[in-house]
Symmetry: C2
């Protein structure tokens, strides 16, 4: 049997779908896009779509259900969104309730699924350019912070932007901005560089999510809009039922990261 890391995206999804693989997907199916997932009752769909449209950097929408109850996302592969994510999180009225390996028995003909771009894609591009991605070289989760940068409100969906942070030497920071600018559908260029206080981060050593990483003398922190932002908006909107992936347990797709490059 192949190691998970050697599986194609479809073979990996088959392993997830059958319940054989329930781990996080970091580093798996290299070269392929992984997605953040949000699932909502259809009456919330329009506002959520407008929220994504108005806030494309934290919420880069790559695909969504063609109709309520449709569990496929054919643009991304032969997907069954009820079973193809290794771990789901269920929210009632915006509050986390439970984690589950599938949502088959929760699924409703009224559900719409949304797949958003994820930083794994641009981290691969940064590493491919020979840059040190600190959270990867230190083998921890990327540090994430709530900021004072407001998202544009759409109906009940609102909140401040969450950012992820990766430190670089100045010339590498400039290179990282260039590289990530090529990938607007996976958060694109950073939204901030330098002083954490300027965007409302009190202590760069104490992230609100994930782990802290080393920031060496002479390095500048770069901050990217983060896919946790829609989860915060979801908490604020507080729909009666909502489902997301568990952080790090992403939908693995058949789409190549290179397909997302705009130049």
């Amino acid at each position: 049997m192949k190691a998970q890391a050697d599986l194609s995206p479809s073979a990996l999804r088959e392993s997830i779908r059958s319940g054989n693989f329930t781990g996080n997907t970091s580093g798996l199916a290299p070269g392929y896009v992984q997605c953040n997932i949000v699932i909502l009752p259809s009456q919330w769909a329009s506002d959520f779509l407008r929220f994504c449209q108005a806030n494309p950097r934290p919420c880069p929408l790559i695909a969504c259900s063609a109709a309520p109850g449709d569990a496929g996302l054919p643009k991304l592969g032969d997907i069954d969104i009820r079973r193809d994510v290794p771990s789901y999180r269920v929210f009632h009225d915006g509050a986390f309730v439970e984690e589950r390996a599938d949502i088959v028995d929760l699924w409703s003909d009224d559900f719409m699924a949304f797949a958003l771009g994820c930083s794994f894609s641009f981290e691969e591009a940064l590493m491919g350019a020979g840059l040190d991605v600190r959270n990867l070289s230190e083998n921890v989760n990327v540090p994430m912070y709530r900021t004072n940068i407001p998202c544009e409100k759409a109906g009940p969906f609102k909140g401040d932007m969450v950012v992820s942070m990766r430190p670089f030497l100045p010339a590498d920071a400039i290179r990282a901005i260039q590289i990530c600018s090529r990938f607007p559908s996976v958060h694109g260029a950073p939204v901030h560089i330098g002083d954490p206080a300027a965007i409302g981060i009190a202590d760069i050593g104490s992230p609100d999510y994930g782990d802290s990483v080393t920031v060496n003398d002479g390095e500048l922190p770069l901050y990217w809009a983060c896919g946790v932002t829609p989860q915060v908006a979801l908490e604020n909107a507080a729909p009666p039922l909502a489902i997301t992936h568990s952080p790090g347990y992403m939908l693995v797709t058949d789409m190549l990261n290179t397909e997302l490059a705009i130049f």
Copy 2:
């Protein structure tokens, strides 16, 4: 008679060629590429071309003489390089000797002319994107600094890079990096951001060339490779005779700035 600012590039060159206009060219012929000029005896040409090739960010070569003694640069318009620059500087053995309005009586069948991209092009792109270019809004020359970033040596041409500096708020700095990345033939993306000491600048308030500009709280200085770098390399190489434009008194060409955009 039209004001200088309304003249087409060719009409402006005609005015310069006839001796009617001898001023600096900042803000003239908007939309068109202006060039740094270096003129050398042909036996120095090969090393200088190698220097430009090895150091494309400070020395982005846009055009050069097709053969020794050829005073035209047809790629850039109907140019007579002996008369079409409003002010020339003459160097003997690397040392500045005199400034002149034309070099007709100095010209030799052995001379080669080199036209290098200039920051006016990317400043226009930055302003077009709504960014505040501080040296323009404060109506002074851009501050320039000698750094400790070594250029790659080519024969006798060598020296550290000279950079120009423009300060921006962090999000605008990211935008400026994106915009200038589109224009590699006019210095391209910045080479440094943030701490001046990291590239050997002792005091950002005391530039080695040009004027100082205001750097406000919360702004990050961005540093671009500068066209003064080849003049420093020229001083070090010390050819018996060399001619350049006078700083700010550029060759105005028929090439559109937008022609230089790579995406």
